[in-house]
Symmetry: C2
Subunit: 313 residues, 2 copies
């Protein structure tokens, strides 16, 4: 079995070609060409942690992929990254293990950022005066980096609970070529930004319905399990159009789950990224619409990352 | 991350101490102290293969375990074992990968045989003139070996579709100290044997209701996915008492699933192994009863195997 480490993965990662692979993966998923069993979830309440196991096989591929990923939110106290994980590829012809990718959570982080890029391509308004990023972790940095490929805007507002983390993120965003404003008032951020990405594991809404102006797109990345929610239910209900990575996951435990369960989305168009990509259609109808993208993370995204890495090595 | 190979695992495997761990695991499972998300299943029809991902955490343990196992039934043509697989342990405190057990499916094979041993302990009649083994693979050998700890009987009938495989199994069973009869008529086997273990991935019943005499116990190991069935539905319905590893799995896709769905088990007592072990009660009521044990395989069994191996290394 081939073992690949984080360094090797980061060396072969190429955002543009991996984005194409991701798009092909979303399309295959929406065409029902992917075997992707329901995600396995764990809750490690005693350590403020959670974990999930995602696996998928794109029918016809020579390998299937299994991914274990965790978030332990006290890891920082130990000098460890919150998100850990690894991926494995197995032969779909003999079952033998083929590759172990010790990516330390990076493949998940990168493919999530690429999904944010794809969501922005389908949903963001043409004119963006400022980008808004909610949360100060690795995902905040990666999402911001990936948005450079879909908008010419280089003005960003950053929101975080910790002043220290906000300051560190500011330096990184400036190094990436952005003009930066920081705030601890999410409403202020929303007033200025038409392209917002939320990247926290929050269990209570950070953005309220009244905060959001017409013509705004929000990509919500954080909610990937029951109880997590970054946007107020009334804000979700206010969306004119919603893109999701997977209807089955997002309606169950994604950002839109609460609004969906309460029947508040009965007349809101909801489309899977793969379906929109296949049709070559934008999710956004006009410049004044409020659009949302709910990303819960799909195993097919992991499959496509592993495929990209193994092909490049 | 520590890597452990098959050889190291087989060296530290001790059937008696690992059986105690398995019993503790079944009890914890039935006490609802185990987080064990639903199994993920794959079907690789093009290669006559299937796969599953099982994971579990015994609450309070320092690690959780993820297992990937596959069965590819044309592997023999390539000189490969049908069953492949590996297990991994991750910290339940930080999420970091701790150990990779490249057991090539052996831990699954062994824990399945130990479950058969435990089922026989709870269900088999006191007097067994002959053991019957259906199927000629590795699991047939391991089940037979493990039964030596729970019965003094050393007479065995073997049934298989392939004369060659049957002949090879006969030699192994004789080397293990058994007096052996072989047959390709399952009814003949059932007529002589009061303790039968079925170990095939069959999709059509091998044993019929009319074949089974009073006072027989059957442990069915093969059915672990939709469509697999080794015992006729009427035979399952005829059982006086049934032991299962997990009610939720067995009623969904185990050996008893079809009879259960058809409402034929409404008045049959069905007990989980863990519940019977905790109560210290036998599943069998009297010497004339027909009993069944349906083993679909639980992730907690894998957890306990990994725990045993890591503690012994």
């Amino acid at each position: 079995m081939k073992t690949v480490n984080r360094q090797q993965i980061l060396e072969v990662f190429d955002a543009d070609s991996f984005t194409l692979l991701q798009k092909a993966g979303f399309i295959a998923y929406s065409q029902r060409r992917v075997q992707q069993p329901p995600v396995q979830h764990f809750l490690f309440a005693q350590a403020d942690g959670d974990g999930c196991i995602k696996s998928a096989w794109l029918e016809g591929d020579r390998q299937f992929v299994v991914k274990v990923s965790t978030g332990f939110y006290r890891n920082a106290e130990r000098g460890l990254a919150s998100n850990q994980g690894l991926m494995m590829a197995f032969s779909a012809e003999t079952g033998q293990p083929q590759a172990l990718l010790l990516d330390e959570g990076w493949l998940t982080a990168l493919r999530t950022a690429l999904a944010g890029r794809i969501a922005a391509e389908l949903c963001a308004p043409a004119e963006v005066q400022a980008i808004g990023i909610i949360g100060c972790g690795l995902q905040a940095r990666l999402q911001l980096q990936q948005l450079k490929a879909v908008t010419a805007c280089r003005q960003v507002w950053l929101w975080g609970r910790s002043e220290q983390a906000l300051h560190a993120l500011r330096r990184d965003a400036e190094a990436d070529g952005f003009r930066v404003r920081v705030t601890q008032d999410a409403a202020q951020l929303a007033a200025h930004c038409r392209l917002i990405v939320t990247t926290t594991p929050s269990r209570e809404p950070i953005l309220q319905a009244a905060d959001i102006r017409p013509g705004t797109h929000i990509t919500a990345v954080g909610a990937d399990a029951d109880g997590k929610q970054e946007l107020a239910t009334e804000l979700v209900a206010k969306a004119d159009a919603i893109a999701v990575d997977a209807l089955s996951q997002c309606t169950q435990y994604g950002e839109i789950a609460t609004a969906y369960r309460q029947g508040l989305l009965a007349s809101t168009p909801i489309v899977e990224l793969g379906a929109a990509l296949q049709q070559g259609a934008k999710v956004r109808g006009d410049a004044q619409q409020i659009t949302l993208a709910d990303l819960t993370g799909l195993a097919i995204q992991d499959v496509q990352m592993v495929k990209g890495v193994l092909a490049a090595l």
